[in-house]
Amino acid sequence: MSPAGHAAAREILETADESLLDLVDNLLNRGVVISGEVMLGLAGVDLVYLRLQAVLCSADRVERRQGR
């Protein structure tokens, strides 16, 4: 999620409504994860964006697929 998304999320968290807090928890922290992202940078400048989808996979699953 972008930094802007997080600033907004932090704002919603100001609420005293437990149900809304759980809604935020459900949508932002739970739910199915389809892709992971990593941002690498230097001196405050984002330089490299990695998107990990099919790349991250457990080895035994890969070996099974390869028939080993």
Binding site: H6, S19, L28, N29, L56, C57
Partner: protein, 115 residues
Amino acid sequence: MSARRPPLEVRELDSLRAELERQAALASTPRWNASPEDVQRSVARLVLTLVEFVRQLLERQALRRLEGGTLSSEETEAVGVALMRLEETVDDLAARFGLERHELNLDLGPLGRLL
């Protein structure tokens, strides 16, 4: 459906909010950035965070295999020793650069779910 139960006390709400903020921060795109002021320490932090991240991925998967019974006892011992050594190495190197463990914190978060 939130009726028929007392609302949360203020300090309960505060701790819930704090926990959700912590998790929301982890759920964001992990960002690793080396600052120019102390380049050596910064780069060390970046590198060690990456190593620690990979160590966590490996540990997570090793535990899954251990639990699922797909590791032989020799493999369990070998992988266990390797992970133990890796953890010690990360701790040693971090100490040498004056870095605390929590500075290398990069919880797997959503990335761990992809395994």
